[in-house]
Amino acid sequence: MMDSLPIPWNRYGIIAELACRLKGASPQFGKTALQKSVYLLQALYGVDCGYDFSLYAYGPFCSDLLGDLDTTGTLGGVQVHALGWGLDGYQIEPGPRSDAIREKAKAFLDNGTVQDSLTRLREDLAVSRPKTWSYDRRLSTQTGTWAATAINPLATNLRVLSSRSSRGSPPKASMLPSQSLRGKGFYRLGDETGSVSVHPSPQRTQEQGNRTRTVRPRVQRLPVRWRSPRHVPEADIGL
């Protein structure tokens, strides 16, 4: 018989910690960004949060993580707000009990590997974003902003590569895409030595008759036309 209750304080703690670390630096830290950043923490940096991700329409997704976010919110570790202003999406911020929840996971969060990984996640994924997107102007006008739209393709590509390799094995740095994705609207990866950074593809110009228009870098999306968002059925309780 186990000695303690199966309460996943470490999971609640990492969610609260990410909300603290990415507050301000990332006004767009929402549910999608949470999914991708926890996936990268596990897959790329080896932090064992115990989540099992499936490939979903918008990249790696774990329903348990979504449930734990809700619970962390109920416990006061985070606050989740709908963006408003006619925008879809959510913003995750530290909650009133953030300190207490992170204290519960102190041993896990204070671990050197976890600390280092959280720092690297924040730094490695800092990207320079053009200021021309109206969506960005509403949320962030600074360069160097950590953004869900940048992390999505990286996490998705890793998940796809991982699923193409031996089942369940983590992706290797040498597997990371670079050349093959260039010029296809994907974000490029800076180096392939294990330290990963992403940059938006440069803007291009396109001639249209006697006019020239700027083509913005496109966020990579899985080819979802005619595909259900649930390629791998999630663990809905169907009674």
């Binding site: 018989m1 186990m2 000695d3 303690s4 209750l5 199966p6 309460i7 549910k31 999608t32 099992d52 979903y56 329409a57 918008y58 997704f61 329903s63 979504l66 449930g67 809700d70 619970t71 109920t74 416990l75 006061g76 709908a82 879809d88 959510y90 009990r97 207490a100 929840i101 519960k104 089942r167 369940g168 999306r221 979802v224 036309r225 005619w226 595909r227 259900s228 968002p229 649930r230 390629h231 791998v232 059925p233 663990a235 809905d236 309780i237 169907g238 009674l239």
Partner: protein, 440 residues
């Protein structure tokens, strides 16, 4: 070819109508097995009426999925043809695929439905356990191919068993047919639409009731601007009917499916079946660590499907199932001595940890009944606002409904002790609670 039809009386929907082809499928032994799989496990220990089976539920899901399909096609016929290039023949084939997939979606349930699902094997130690949907798809492909593919009524459609398996698994190879998959696998699907009404009816509660008729006439299809692909949606006139279904599910879970005695019986049942799977007297080919055989070949699927409620009950009646089989026979289930709130606060969980430590070896098992009653993000139910106008657009139900938006996930932890230790354990918990009150 014209087809004779057959009606089966159903307590929820009146009559469920079958074609010759569907009757042959229903008569297949793999489908008849569902008569021996109870819908709600051992829930009858709390609600004695809960004796219905997956057999009648499967017929009901086919009936509801068909009504949903027909309503959508009737309402959006021109849109489906002009915007999405469906043809009448294609729609007729899709309707057949939806009916058969709905009918067969639960083929792969283990004995007593969800209670024994924790005994599903994994493909590798790192991978997720198989789910009953995997067994359903395997049974369709490996055991029912002939009755599905070689019926004269299939000559017009050329449906393959693999099409149904792919539909159940949500594989993209089916192309546009997957538009209809939400009818059997979404937050507003025919599965939920049926089981909420059926379970409520049989156990005698009203928690699972909602306005199915209103929901049906407001189902539609629209283009999702995020993915540029068609998606099933609800016209805004059905917003409150959709809300009611979500709330019905919430109430059924909190009042019935998460009921504490029912959860205890799920625990005993899973341990009993595990023991039966390990024991060579009750299982000629015991798998590793008391798990079911994986759905990887015909022999394994046949072995798996040989496990039914009858087989388990027979073995338990004959004295099998070990300690937990004995508990089932004597009805001396473990007793709950402490539980947190449904939506616990941090101090609830901390106190639960204290209780756990204080009870130490007295504890038989700890259960956490957990579910989010509404999935946001990609699974959010799309509501079609201002249909048939220039300002027609999709919005998420969670953005329009304060009730749905406010639904919090339940995560209730309970501590159980053996029947014979319940009085002593309750005294220990009461002492701790008095201590806590004194400190406050």
């Amino acid at each position: 070819m014209s087809s004779k039809t057959y009606e089966i009386r159903d307590p929820i929907h009146g009559f469920v109508v079958l074609s010759d082809w569907e009757r042959d499928i229903v008569n297949h032994p793999v489908f008849q097995r569902l008569r021996r799989i109870r819908q709600l496990g051992w829930t009858d220990m709390v609600y004695p009426g809960a004796m219905h089976t997956r057999f009648e539920h499967s017929l009901g899901v086919m009936h509801v999925a068909t009504r949903m399909f027909d309503e959508i096609v009737t309402r959006r016929h021109d849109f489906l043809k002009s915007e999405l290039s469906f043809t009448d023949g294609g729609l007729e084939k899709d309707r057949t695929l939806v009916r058969l997939s709905a009918l067969l979606h639960d083929l792969g349930h283990p004995p007593f439905s969800h209670a024994a699902e924790e005994l599903m094997p994994r493909e590798t130690p790192e991978s997720k356990p198989y789910r009953h949907e995997n067994y359903s798809a395997a049974a369709v492909q490996l055991l029912m191919r002939d009755v599905i593919e070689n019926h004269p009524l299939n000559e017009n459609y050329g449906l393959k068993a693999r099409d149904i398996a792919d539909f159940l698994n949500g594989r993209g190879s089916l192309g546009r047919c997957l538009l209809w998959r939400d009818l059997i696998a979404s937050q507003l699907d025919a599965d939920r639409a049926d089981y909420l009404l059926r379970d409520s009816h049989h156990i005698g509660v009203a928690y699972g009731r909602y306005d199915l008729s209103r929901l049906l006439v407001t189902l539609t299809v629209a283009i999702d601007p995020d993915t540029d692909s068609p998606k099933l949606a609800v016209e805004e006139g059905g917003l409150h009917a959709a809300e009611a279904l979500i709330l019905a599910r919430y109430l059924m879970f909190t009042q019935v499916y998460f009921q504490h005695t029912r959860r205890a019986y799920d625990h005993h049942l899973a341990r009993t079946v595990q023991e039966l799977l390990c024991n060579t007297e009750t299982n000629a080919t015991p798998g590793g660590n008391g798990t079911f055989p994986p759905p990887t070949d015909r022999g394994n699927v046949e072995q798996y499907l040989a496990w039914t409620d009858w087989r388990v009950l027979g073995a338990v009646e004959a004295g099998g199932g070990g300690e937990h089989g004995g508990i089932l026979r004597a009805r001396t289930h473990h007793r709950r001595v402490y539980e947190t709130r449904e939506i616990p606060h941090e101090e609830d969980l901390t106190f639960a940890e204290r209780v756990r430590q204080a009870l130490a070896e007295e504890v038989a098992f700890v259960d956490t009944a957990k579910d989010s009653f509404y999935k946001f993000d990609g699974a959010d139910i799309p509501i079609l606002r201002h249909p048939d106008t220039a300002t027609e657009r999709l919005e998420s139900l969670s953005r329009l409904s304060a009730v749905v938006k406010g639904l919090r996930p339940v995560s209730q932890t309970r501590i159980y002790v053996p029947y014979g230790r319940r009085e002593e354990a309750r005294r220990i918990v009461e002492d701790l609670e008095r201590e806590r009150e004194a400190l406050e």
